[in-house]
Symmetry: C3
Subunit: 674 residues, 3 copies
């Protein structure tokens, strides 16, 4: 598809009355050119066991074709029909919380052989049905696949098989997991206790890793089936998603997306976020950083809100701003979930573009402008490529450790892994420093890191020694590293390294520490950054840093802990290494990142502006630089144009460096350099 | 019983020592003329399977007779004996939360055939025993019957049978419930999934309706048994209750009391409420409105607190105020629960009239004055009849939708159905506008509505089209309607009406809306009512109303939503229709209701006073107007007498219109017009 | 051991690398002379069923011996190996919350015969192994034994057997428990319902008492086994602990420690508490009072924190202050839990003396000073004996009633039994009035009470009549009693006494009450004590006291309750009795206790100082008076020496009465009178 895709998920099956032709007309009128169908409607496609009925699927594909609308067909496997649950109740996953019940989607044991048998059959029938249609441009494997906390007997057996492969002997496992503790030591594989009762963090973390592996295996299995049918011009994607905090927040805990992305040709995801006064573009930026990383290429927004949650009814302009900010982050599509608002069942109030009255409304009218602009500007905006100089290093294992394990020490669960990651990401975002994400689980981490001037490693708690050595090497070779508290504390099995901290890196940081505590009335002293009093507060965690060569960027303000450093900087080899020993405020994080960016020699015109003015850049297909200027606020803003002379694409006005222009509330401008 | 009943529940079985004669003497001395016995003491009545012992029951009846005390005998079926639970463990209901355990009352599967067999037997034995006693004036069927969340295999089977009857075919059910969603579509009745796992709101709501039906069926079954024994002069009642929020708050979610009341000859209920500085009379008023509606007649207060909860120890005068305010709302009795305070088990601190020392105390001394006044004033106060001009339209189905379903959109569960209902009721109460309650489930709703000048329909979310048409007709014929947000949004199966909102009524309201959201920093502008700034806050929910003929009573104060109306008024036919598009404060609700009452032409003398002075009126048996003037505050108040010349019954003083008199703290006056 | 013990729990089994010799050297260098081993490592000692390997145990004992370090050997039974759980899954206790899972420690059914069989075998094998070592100075039975909420079928059967013994007939049980209530009346022992479903407080409380008995039985059983092997010079102890509120707070609810202590020769316990700005010494004082009471002798601190919880990293000086305050309360040992910080599993962040890097650190350096001082001062500080004049009367049954039962009336669960007990204890502590603890379950309570000038009975809700009579006798004979609200309200089965309150004692208190409520805007009037306005607040509970002979120390300030007394004092016989009818503030409690102490004629020099200066005294082995002066604050304090002329032991300086000296922040001085 050499054009931007704009559209929505479409469910003819859910309509309260005949709407297909009317809907396709309305979509076409709005410039929409793609629908996403079929996923989650297994019971409509196979209403009885072995009885298949794809008439609704074909009907939708044909109607779409009549209106020049592409179709992405999803396999329907993430929600099973009642007859299947009735026949094989064991398909519903037993989880840590006990047996499940039929009703919701995404509650099956994805390892269950019966489930696999029926899922394969319906996928094959569906593929046979849709392969003949030209306007089917691609396939989506399942939807937001997770392990759904499957933890029954069968999964436990698979897990023990995994442990055997991982450790060879129980002795080795006992040693790595510290199973001597509280008499957990295992004498033979048969006696490995049910992991759902364990209090051993290493054992639990390994189980989480194993379950993330189940997701990868499941998607690869679906990919293989789909590949038997698809044409070479059809893509395969998956609707990945994020840690959910009533909106898309951070790295997904249940999937190693870098591994699972082997199953797709194009990365895809859904993303939901707050709007109105809380629309910031931060989630879209984080989403882009993750998704560009999965296939090192552009990606699809397969689902995002038009109206979504009842609290998110968009202000005028916000729907446009959302759509274009996805493009600015490297997306090649924007699809809403969903076209219309559902009239009953569960997601009645997770609203689509149309409301319950299914009539033209304010959001639809705004969508019409987006569709028109997408169509017109597609040649300039499609396939935007980035060359970012900063990266954030993330890890599913550290996420597990610092979010999911009751035995982790961060007090009260108030700050979790993704909070720390987002705090650093958001600081860079507010500074208009675009950044990528690198995952510890990617192959060739060393090589990947070498491509950046600045690497930020937040909350990288559990990490193999080779990654720590790679980071040391990175600095030695001239890289600039910022690592936060708890970094490199434990190995990949969550066993704390039993020596000087930070493990391996203490020379690189020119600092070590032995003690840590929860800050009570502690703040940072000797502020380089002129941060406000409240901005200097330490909360949640503090390490008592003892510099040995490093410079103190900040020490603690406290009668007893004042003797220790809070943030250190150290020149090491050709690079520098900054260590942040405590949890700091967003305000302080931003100033520290401003400092680190400068140290790393990153200096781009965009940095002259700051949030709520957000600037995103890249190179388009014809090799021209594109710059998006967004206004994430309700205020009209006069903004200087900071890049080389260009054409503003929305107004078709030419623009000279240094010229001023107006950004309307929640408005934007798009520049293509001459 | 042509006299006011005053008494208490009495449990000889629970006494720590022989007390019967002493207690009867004390009751008689206090003017008490009724006790309520036997309910909940099955294990005393049938200590072993098939061994019956009603000696305590008879003993109490005889002792009461000796002291001219009537007896209401309750069937003992709401708590089963240990031997029955041991023999048939399946009698304990399996609920949504899993299997129950023996111990508490009200935890059985009321559909269980074994339970029914033994319950019937003990009821018959009890009836045989007590039918010979003259002072047994009536019977209470079971107690506070609910469905107790019974949801086991047997209930699921009954529910599927109900679905078959309701829908005929699975196809029809699939369509009504939107079962295509998330692959929930059912292929045959055998495969209808266990409702306890569902995420389908329509399915759940239907189950709740079905379970309310179980309660009706159960009480009708008991009535039939009791009818075989009772004399024509004996009444049958039931102790209905209210939604419980640590006190009696609103419409009962688990019972359709209008349907269930078919099983009784006289409505009855229990009511508990806060006292001390929080005694307002609002719960007594709401209680009266519901109970007068059930049999269109007077009703019994079968249980209310003397001391009750430890936080409710009454101030001097409050026990009197409570007792008379029930009469003022149309009750013919006041019975305390219970006579004495229990010395152990569960409700040790749910206190009776006597404390644990079982000696004369302050509350008992106040009860003596009540008993004396009841006896003296019975001819004037018994059978008070109301002719109210305002009504509140309520619905168990809307209650289910807006209180019990996790998929409902009101954010955070902070405001539920009964909150909205109570807000409108309480506003009328504070204005001294007496109102009735009409339920959507009553037959002849149209005719019922026609009797009122003002109908208020708060939070009437799910409602059949015929009710919406009846409301339209009501306005067209000259009625005055106030409807709140979400009104008429979905049908009786909780399926949102897929067209212009408000469904059917948009012409009547001269307004439609397409969008809604959660108000953030939103208030009401252009206030007609001079309400304070805080009083104009919008919270929880707001609809963006677009008048088409209607007048805006208020628009939103907000940079983006300011273009929309919040409250509209429209003349339609001979009547007017007010629509309130958002959740408003109690202060604003009161002013809006003052306005609506005026529009509806309701103008009574009582409206010249306002809470905490509360005035309730009615006609007594000899056709005279009775006016209660209550002071719900700790302040002494000078009050003008607003009605026609009358006799004050407590002081036996005559009173002229316009004359002033003193209301003591928590004091009152009762006037009988000449 | 005629010397102070100083050491740590040591787990060679948990070490990430070979450390034994290095650790023993470091311990010896720090003056540590004892380690505690083997408890909780069953799976290391019996890695497969019937295969025993005590090499780690012996290795540790031998290494310790080489460094003049004693060893306390713990039986390993509080955590079972996976093979045992796999073979007998029923060993994992079924609790009120349902079946448990293998994983955690302390989750077994301690009555399970299989568990007992294997536990006995491993204990015997261990004892056989270690009995030959001279440096094994004693044994610890199990660890922190509780009933672990065991409540399965087998336990229910044992409980019914217990009920038969207690009551003889079901009729008697029905009567005592008030089983007529809600139809709970039982017809035969076979039909006694599963206690886990009950709503009967008496039944539940009896079950709690029964389960506390299981702990006693279990420890006596272990003692008997150990006694077959131990030498006469070896002690037997147990690691008792406290109610846990994220630190050691109050009386342990699951164990009757006075009964269970029959199983040991020396009392022992663990204690954990907050530090930094929240280090007060109050927990150490309460710990001492309980433990001195168990065997009427000195006791061991078997576990306390060096660093412990991440929030408790100690300030400089605090580790010393903690160690010596235990000695000052009568402890003969201080052992840390544990030597090093664990590198994985569950308690990774429940830190030992050494951190994860296992290197010398700040806490270790402070421990070196403690070890040196302990060694030097042992002759003066060992076996400190107290002769206190005040005692607090506690009760496990009252604790159950006022903490564990949902039917108890204290609102919201905000104030529980131990809160009240601690409030009175802490007030005495702050006044430097040392007190003992007496338990209602001790034999000879009358005699024990007679030894004190002042007895405080806080929240003594459920108590047999003989104890109430003993208290009356105590006052009559000249004792001074302070009893708080709810005192003596119910009998040992939690049945409220059905007569004048306070039961039995109303004459002694010269007062009775009939009513009570939750105070809302209520405070105390006519303050004798010049307490601040906030300090006079009443919360949680208030009784409306009616003096009949007693003097009002305070009445309520409230428009309605102002007629009643809040605190009364009455001269009775040769003594006085103070009754506190409401929950008062810590500030008011302190002033009231100051008054009560004075009334009781207790006047010691220590009372001239006040918290944060804390003074603890006693007589050492050579009959000399020892006085500890502690500074529990960050401020340097000038303090007058208040006792007879003495030698300051740390500085070896002599000190005269009235002389001033400096207490450093978190500092101390120890005086031995000449």
């Amino acid at each position: 598809m050499e054009k931007l895709l704009y559209g929505a998920a479409y469910y003819d099956e859910y309509m309260p009355k005949e709407r297909l032709e009317k809907d396709m007309q309305m979509m076409q009128a709005a410039g929409m050119n793609v629908i996403r169908i079929a996923e989650s409607t297994w019971a409509s496609e196979e209403p009885e066991e072995g009885v298949f009925d794809f008439s609704h699927v074909e009907r939708a594909i044909k109607a779409a074709a009549d209106h020049d609308i592409y179709v992405i067909v999803g396999t329907p496997t993430y929600a099973i029909p009642p007859w299947l649950a009735a026949k094989y109740p064991e398909i519903i996953a037993v989880t840590e919380d006990g047996p499940g019940k039929y009703g919701a989607r995404q509650n099956m044991d994805i390892t269950n052989p019966h489930y696999r048998f029926y899922a394969e059959r319906v996928i094959r029938k569906l593929m046979e049905t849709v392969q003949k249609y030209d306007n089917v441009v691609g396939f989506q494997l399942d939807n937001e696949t997770k392990h759904y906390h499957t933890a029954g007997k069968h999964v436990q057996e698979l897990f023990v098989r995994h442990l055997k492969q991982e450790f060879g002997t129980v002795e080795e496992m006992n040693r790595e997991f510290g199973f001597n503790y509280w008499s957990n030591r295992v004498d033979c594989w048969e006696n490995v206790p049910d992991v759902t009762g364990t209090i051993n963090g290493s054992f639990l973390a390994e189980f989480e890793k194993f379950r993330r592996g189940l997701v990868t295996e499941f998607l690869l299995w679906q990919r293989k089936i789909v590949d038997e049918y698809r044409r070479p011009d059809q893509f395969v994607t998956h609707n990945f998603d994020f840690e959910w905090r009533d909106y898309s927040f951070g790295v997904q805990p249940e999937v190693d997306q870098w591994k699972a992305a082997q199953a797709v040709t194009t990365a895809g995801c859904d993303i939901y976020h707050r709007t109105q006064d809380e629309l910031t573009g931060k989630e879209a930026s984080f989403c882009g950083a993750i998704n560009r990383s999965l296939k090192k290429d552009n990606y699809f927004i397969l689902e995002t809100e038009a109206q979504g949650h009842v609290g998110w009814t968009p202000y005028d302009g916000q729907l446009r701003l959302q759509a274009f900010s996805h493009l600015a982050n490297g997306a090649d599509s924007v699809l809403y979930w969903h076209w219309h608002s559902i009239h009953n069942s569960f997601e009645t109030y997770w609203r689509g573009l149309l409301g319950h009255d299914m009539q033209e409304n304010r959001p639809y009218r705004e969508a019409m402008t987006i569709g028109a602009d997408f169509a017109r500007l597609s040649p300039s905006l499609l396939h935007l490529k980035k060359h970012n100089r900063a990266a954030i290093l993330v890890s599913n294992e550290a996420l597990t450790a610092l979010s999911r394990l009751p035995m982790f020490p961060l007090p009260g669960g108030e700050v979790l892994y993704n909070d720390v990651v987002r705090e650093y990401h958001d600081a860079l975002y507010e500074l208009n420093v675009e950044c990528d994400v690198v995952s510890v689980s990617e192959s060739g981490v060393s090589e990947l890191l070498a491509g950046y001037d600045l690497v930020v490693a937040p909350a990288l708690y559990s990490v193999p020694e080779e990654v720590l050595r790679a980071l040391e090497q990175y600095v030695e070779n001239g890289g600039h590293l910022v690592m936060s508290y708890k970094g490199g504390y434990a190995n990949e099995y969550l066993t704390v390294y039993p020596d000087t901290k930070p493990h391996i890196l203490h020379k690189c940081f020119g600092m070590r520490y032995q003690e840590y505590t929860i800050p009570q009335k502690v703040s940072l002293k000797d502020d380089l950054f002129e941060v406000s009093k409240e901005g200097r507060d330490c909360t949640v965690w503090m390490e008592l840093l003892m510099p040995a060569g490093a410079e103190s960027l900040a020490v603690y303000e406290h009668p007893y802990w004042g003797a220790y450093s809070a943030i250190t900087k150290h020149a090491y080899g050709k690079g520098t290494a900054i260590y942040v020993g405590c949890h700091i405020t967003p305000e302080y994080t931003k100033e520290l990142m401003r400092y680190a960016v400068k140290e790393a020699g990153i200096q781009e015109p965009a940095q002259q502006a700051e949030f709520p003015v957000v600037i995103r850049s890249g190179r388009n297909q014809r090799g021209k630089q594109i710059h998006y200027y967004f206004n994430f606020s309700s205020d009209t803003r006069e903004q200087e144009y900071l890049h080389a002379d260009a054409q503003e694409l929305l107004s078709c006005r030419s623009m000279t460096t240094g010229e001023c222009f107006v950004l309307e509330p929640w408005g934007m401008a798009i520049f293509e350099e001459c």
